[in-house]
C-alpha cells in the first residue's frame, strides 16, 4: 500500500542571472540548507536524495555523484532524475514515490541550474534530433512562436493579451524577494516595445535564464505531521510526455499533454471543478502566450477564453484563482530547478509561509512542469490529508 506523503519544507536561492561567487555544489548547498532550516531538520535526518538538472548547461556528467558535498548525499542513497524542462517536477514526483514506497521516511528533492555557465540556446538545440532537426532548430522560441501564432489566428488573441500575462508575472514578483526579476515591474507598453525575437514573441514575453537552486523535503504520514505544523499533502501527480518528434506536435489542438495530465491529476485528487476548487496555481509558463492558452488546456476556462479570464483579473493576487504569486518562470528560470520551484511555491502557499506573496486560505494548490517535446507534469497539493 502506498503511503501518504507531504511536503514539510522548502528552500531556494536568491535567484540571479550570474552567481560567480559560488560553484554549482555551493549553489545547491544554499537551497538545501534553507530547506532543512525551514523544517528544522538536519542532514542526518534525511534518508535519501534525488537531484536533477540538465547535463549540457554545465557539462557535468553524473551530477548525482559530483554534487554530494553540496547536496548532503555523502553516505546516503542518491539518484539523478532528468527529463528536460520537466526535470524539477520529475524530481518532485520522484521524491513523492521514494516516500510513498515505504522505503524512506524523509527525502530531499533538489533541482538546480547555473545557466550562466553555457550558451543556453546552444545547449537546448542539442535536445533536437541530431539527424533530422538539429540543423534547422534554434531552441525553444520558434516552436513557442508557432504555437502563439496558431492560437492568435484561431481565437483572435492579441499581443496585448499576452503582454497582460507578462505584466502580471512581474507585478507578482514584487512580492517575492527570491525572484530574479524582483522589483522590476513592467507595463504593457514596455512589453510591446521590447525587441521582437520571433514573431509574435518579444523579449519581455519570454523567461530569463537564471543561476539558482531549489530543495524540497518530502515526509511520510506519521512523520510529516510532527515536522510541519501544516504539511502540504501530495494529492496527486500526473505525467504525460506524449510526443517524441517535434514534427508530431499538433499546435492547433491545444496542449495535449497538459490536458491529459491535468484531467488525470484532478480525477485522482477528487477535484471536479478545478476553477472553484483550486485556490492557487504555480504554472510552468515559459512565455506569456502560455498564460492564455495553457490555462484553457488545464480547464480553468474554455477554449479561446484565456484572454478574457486574464483581463478580468481572475489570476491576479486577490482574484478568484491567483496564478504564479511567485512571479513564475518568466521571473526566474534556472531550468532544472524551475518546475521544482513551482511545486515548492505551491507547498509554501498550503503551508501559509508565502509572506507578501501569500494567497489567503489555500486548501488546494496546483503546480505544473513543462519541457521536452511539449510534455507536462502536474502535481496537486492540499491542506487536508488525502483519502
Amino acid at each position: 500500500m502506498a503511503r501518504r506523503v507531504a511536503i514539510v519544507g522548502t528552500g531556494q536561492t536568491y535567484h540571479k542571472s550570474h552567481r560567480l561567487d559560488v560553484n554549482g555544489r555551493e549553489l545547491i548547498n544554499e537551497a538545501v540548507t534553507r530547506a532543512l532550516a525551514d523544517c528544522e531538520l538536519s542532514i542526518a535526518d534525511i534518508d535519501a536524495i534525488i537531484i536533477g538538472n540538465m547535463d549540457h548547461f554545465e557539462s557535468i556528467n553524473y551530477v548525482d555523484t559530483w554534487s554530494v558535498e553540496g547536496s548532503g548525499g555523502y553516505m546516503k542513497p542518491i539518484m539523478k532524475v532528468t527529463t528536460g524542462g520537466t526535470t524539477g517536477s520529475s524530481v518532485a514526483i520522484a521524491g513523492y514515490y521514494h516516500v510513498a514506497s515505504g522505503l524512506f521516511d524523509k527525502v530531499l528533492a533538489i533541482g538546480w541550474e547555473k545557466n550562466s555557465e553555457s550558451d543556453t540556446t546552444a545547449a537546448i538545440v542539442t535536445c533536437s534530433d541530431p539527424i533530422w532537426d538539429r540543423f534547422s532548430y534554434s531552441g525553444a522560441i520558434p516552436s513557442l512562436a508557432t504555437e502563439a501564432s496558431a492560437y492568435m489566428e484561431q481565437y483572435g488573441a492579441t499581443q496585448e493579451d499576452a503582454a497582460r500575462v507578462a505584466v502580471r508575472e512581474r507585478t507578482h514578483a514584487l512580492n517575492n524577494p527570491y525572484a530574479q526579476m524582483y522589483n522590476r515591474p513592467i507595463t504593457i507598453k514596455d512589453v510591446m516595445e521590447s525587441p521582437m525575437l520571433a514573431y509574435p514573441i518579444k523579449l519581455l514575453d519570454v523567461c530569463p535564464r537564471t543561476d539558482g537552486a531549489c530543495a524540497v523535503v518530502f515526509a511520510a504520514e506519521g512523520v510529516a505531521e510532527k515536522i510541519a505544523v501544516r504539511p502540504a499533502w501530495v494529492k496527486s501527480c500526473s505525467v504525460r510526455h506524449t510526443t517524441t518528434w517535434f514534427g508530431d506536435v499538433d499546435y492547433n489542438t491545444g496542449m495535449l499533454s497538459l490536458k491529459r495530465a491535468s484531467k488525470e491529476a484532478f480525477e485522482k485528487a477528487g477535484i471536479k471543478d478545478p476553477v472553484e476548487e483550486i485556490d492557487v496555481a504555480e504554472l510552468y509558463l515559459p512565455y506569456s502566450y502560455a498564460g492564455l492558452k495553457w490555462i484553457e488546456a488545464i480547464g480553468f476556462c474554455g477554449p479561446g477564453e484565456g484572454p478574457k479570464f486574464i483581463w478580468d483579473g481572475n489570476t491576479d493576487m486577490g482574484g478568484k484563482l491567483p496564478i504564479n504569486p511567485s512571479g513564475g518562470v518568466m521571473c526566474t528560470n534556472c531550468i532544472g530547478a524551475t518546475a521544482l520551484l513551482r511545486v515548492a511555491e505551491a507547498a509554501i502557499q498550503i503551508m501559509g509561509k508565502g509572506e507578501a506573496r501569500q494567497v489567503p486560505d489555500v486548501t488546494n494548490a496546483m503546480a505544473t512542469g513543462f519541457g521536452g517535446c511539449w510534455w507536462s507534469d502536474v502535481v496537486i497539493l492540499g491542506k487536508d490529508k488525502p483519502n
Binding site: N61, M75, P130, R240, T242, C373
Partner: protein, 379 residues
C-alpha cells in the same frame, strides 16, 4: 516492504557497433520482448522508467529519443540518468508507491561517442577535468591503491578476466566470449598501469528491459515471479582524494541494508549467485569485499581458490559480466536480469543449478562512488 517481483525481462545481443540501429530501435526491441516474456500487452504496463545519459547519447533530454518506443506515449513516465540498477530501483519504488507495474528500459551506444571525453566529464571541471582523468585512468589509480594495500596480484585479477570471458561462451548475448589464459592477460597491452587491455571491459552497444509488478499483477504474468527481497543504494564522497579507494564504504552500507531487508545474515552461504559490475578485473574482488562476501583484502584469494567459478561455492558473473559486454547504464540492469534468469532456471548454458537467491549490483560515478545492491529470491 510489500511483495513485488520481476515478471518480464529482455535484452539485445551486445555488440561493438550496432551501426544499423538507433536508440529507438533497440528500445522497441527490448520493450516488446519484455512484454512477450511476461505475456503482457501495453495495457498491462502502468508506467515507464527510461534510463539514459545525455553525454553518452550526445543529446540534451536524451530520454526524448526513446519514450515513444518504450510505449510511454500516454503513460506516466520518468527518467533516471545513471546506471540501470538505480533506474530499476526507482521503477520498484513506483510499484510500491501505487502503480501495479513498471516497465524499466535502458539503452546505450558506446560506439557513437568518445568514451574518454564522456567519462572525463565525470570529473570536476575546476580541479580535475583538465588533468585528463577518465574512467580508465581513475580506475587504474583505484586498482593500484587496492593492490598495494592488500598485496592483491595482477595474476589474481587476470583470473577474473579468464573466468568471465569463459563464462561468456555460454551466454548468447555476450559480446566477448573468449578462451584466454592468465598469461594472455598478463601479456596484453598495458593501458594504464596496473590495468592491461584484458583487464578492461569493452565498448558496447545494447539495450535491456524489465517489468516489475506488485503481487496481484504478477499473477497475470506468464513467468514465475522473481521477488525483490532487498534493494539499497548509497554514495561515497566525490573527490577521489576524499575517499579511501580500497575501502568501498558505500557498497558496504548498501549491502548491509539490502541484506537486512532480505533477512540475509551470512551472504556467503545464503546467496547462490552474484552478478556484479566488473568494469575492470580488480573490481570483482574489491566489490566482493564490499559486499561482505569475504573480509577486506581477501578478494584475491577468493578468486584464486576458485570459489567464484561456475561450479564454485559462490559463482560470480556466470553471464560473463561487464567484462564481456559493457553497455554503460544498461549493464546494471543486465545484472538484475541475469540474476532473475538464474532464479527462474532460464539461464540456459550458464545456469547455476538450484539458484534460489541472487545478488545483482550496479555502480554510478568514478571508481564506484555510488552502489546499488539488489537481492532477488524465488519466494
Amino acid at each position: 516492504m510489500d511483495k513485488i517481483a520481476i515478471v518480464g525481462a529482455s535484452q539485445t545481443k551486445y555488440e561493438r557497433r550496432k551501426k544499423g540501429e538507433i536508440f529507438y530501435d533497440m528500445i522497441y526491441e527490448v520493450t516488446t520482448k519484455a512484454m512477450e516474456d511476461a505475456d503482457y500487452t501495453l495495457e498491462d504496463i502502468d508506467n515507464v522508467i527510461t534510463v539514459s545519459n545525455d553525454f553518452l547519447d550526445g543529446r540534451t533530454i536524451s530520454c526524448m529519443a526513446v519514450q515513444e518506443a518504450a510505449g510511454a506515449h500516454d503513460k506516466n513516465v520518468s527518467t533516471i540518468e545513471g546506471d540501470g540498477a538505480f533506474g530499476a530501483f526507482y521503477g520498484a519504488m513506483r510499484v510500491l508507491g501505487g502503480f501495479g507495474t513498471t516497465l524499466v528500459v535502458a539503452h546505450s551506444k558506446g560506439s557513437e561517442g568518445d568514451p574518454k571525453i564522456i567519462t572525463n566529464a565525470m570529473f570536476d571541471p575546476i580541479y580535475h577535468r583538465l588533468l585528463g582523468l577518465d574512467a580508465i585512468s581513475s580506475s587504474a589509480l583505484q586498482a593500484s591503491v587496492y593492490m598495494e594495500r592488500y598485496g592483491i596480484t595482477e595474476q589474481q585479477c587476470a583470473l577474473v578476466s579468464v573466468k568471465n570471458h569463459k563464462n561468456a561462451k555460454n551466454n548468447p548475448y555476450a559480446q566477448l566470449p573468449m578462451d584466454i589464459t592468465v598469461d594472455d592477460v598478463m601479456r596484453s597491452k598495458k593501458i594504464a598501469d596496473p590495468i592491461k587491455l584484458l583487464d578492461c571491459s569493452p565498448i558496447s552497444d545494447g539495450a535491456a528491459a524489465i517489468i516489475i509488478a506488485n503481487e496481484k499483477r504478477a499473477k497475470k504474468a506468464r513467468t514465475k515471479p522473481i521477488w525483490i527481497k532487498g534493494v539499497a543504494h548509497c554514495s561515497d564522497a566525490y573527490f577521489l582524494g576524499d575517499r579511501d579507494l580500497a575501502d568501498p564504504i558505500s557498497l558496504k552500507d548498501a549491502s548491509k541494508k539490502a541484506y537486512a531487508m532480505a533477512g540475509i545474515k551470512d551472504p556467503m552461504s545464503e546467496i547462490d549467485v552474484v552478478e556484479l559490475y566488473d568494469a575492470f578485473t580488480y573490481m570483482e574482488p574489491l566489490w566482493l569485499e564490499g559486499m561482505g562476501i569475504c573480509d577486506a583484502g581477501q578478494g584475491g584469494q577468493l578468486i584464486e581458490k576458485g570459489i567464484t567459478v561456475m561450479d564454485g561455492k559462490l559463482p560470480v558473473n556466470p553471464s560473463g559480466g561487464v567484462l564481456s559486454a559493457h553497455p554503460v547504464l544498461v549493464a546494471g540492469l543486465v545484472r538484475i536480469i541475469e540474476a532473475a534468469l538464474q532464479i527462474r532456471g532460464e539461464a540456459g548454458d550458464h545456469q547455476i543449478k538450484g539458484a534460489k537467491t541472487a545478488l545483482a549490483h550496479g555502480i554510478n560515478g568514478p571508481c564506484g562512488q555510488s552502489h546499488c545492491v539488489w537481492i532477488l529470491g524465488s519466494k
